[in-house]
Symmetry: C2
Subunit: 222 residues, 2 copies
């Protein structure tokens, strides 16, 4: 196996957590790419993944680059009954799938509409009405996940599953970017608990250890 | 089972094709919602799916609303060796997953950035540079899928799989909205072939039978 990845990227972090849950991460040859140096557009990556994106993953001759696809492949191929992240029971699987796919919307709801907008639009050019609307939408969206966690330690089952693998990296990035989880105490507790998990600690984005993130989303109070 | 759905919606069409492939569609109780009458926000739907979206699906007490999750659940639960849409072999599965997840990007690449923009922005207010950039990006994206189909009848395996279920509805909508597949002849042949498939014909969006679509994307020449 070989994984090209970037530090602090949700799509990269997901398969890394899966590999760590399987006890494989420390043995997987891998390369940390610098996005700012455009290493994800290097020939080395592009010949495997013409999109020039991270993650780019191969296992022997098999190339898989979509984050969700890598995660499902790894669970199919390398999990056992003790560490399977998508359960075998069809009803339980459906609830894991539901949260997996649902979490993909968080990119559009928060990162794309709010984080990218604020990062790429000069403060004086930012549209206050647009911002207000998108901040409210982000707060509503984040609060939904707080409801899902009511009375539960994990998102979809009574143990850590692929639903948590897909969702947690988004939550961690929101927190790093300044989102306050003041009202959503289930989410705060969930964040504190999952952050301590060995697979999460083993794959924590290296550049996050150097200091706090830019508080770009500190007007989101969820 | 019960499915709430809307006509011409990619997320609704996907599980309908799965059910038709399984020979179940004609027997599944269902309700066609009118999006323009906001029936997806009705109490009947909202009590199952607080997002108020279609598809909304239940099987007994089990509620699944994310389109991809419904598809994977249906394949887990109701497919047999003759009609399974996600193969059992892990390597083959990985290639099906890859195209499944990859197809989800088509919403952002074409529908969100181009179709929604053109539909919601008055012609005189549309930014020519933005449009040019997004049309080119859509053409590049669509051409990628043409390459994937080089020498192949189906996207991921030598038979119809969940990759085709996820991708084809996007392609059909692009064609309906006026996208020309002039250069991408693999895609044109694929479109013609899959359109004739029984599961696709049985679930063809009812309002599409009434006449051609609005040619909103006719400046995309892929």
């Amino acid at each position: 196996m070989f994984l090209y990845w970037g530090s602090g990227s949700v799509p990269c972090w997901k398969p890394m957590i899966v590999l760590a849950e399987q006890g494989l991460w420390q043995d997987v040859p891998n390369k940390l790419l610098s996005f700012s140096n455009k290493e994800h557009k290097s020939e080395e990556v592009m010949k495997l993944n013409p999109r020039g994106q991270a993650p780019t993953f191969r296992d022997g001759d098999l190339v898989v680059c979509e984050s969700g696809a890598i995660c499902q492949y790894l669970d199919d191929k390398y999990s056992n009954d003790d560490n399977r992240l998508i359960p075998t029971d069809a009803a339980q699987r459906s609830q894991v799938y539901q949260r997996m796919y649902e979490s993909l919307n968080l990119h559009a709801f928060v990162i794309q509409t709010l984080y990218y907008y604020k990062r790429t639009t000069k403060k004086e050019d930012q549209d206050a009405n647009y911002l207000k609307e998108k901040i409210e939408a982000a707060e509503v969206e984040i609060s939904r996940w707080n409801v899902y966690l009511e009375g539960k330690e994990y998102l979809a089952c009574d143990k850590f599953t692929m639903a948590d693998v897909f969702f947690y990296p988004f939550l961690a990035i929101f927190v790093r970017l300044g989102v306050k989880l003041e009202k959503n105490t289930n989410l705060q507790k969930y964040y504190d608990r999952i952050t301590q998990r060995a697979s999460v600690q083993a794959t924590w984005p290296p550049h996050w250890k150097e200091g706090p993130g830019p508080a770009i989303l500190d007007d989101v109070k969820a």
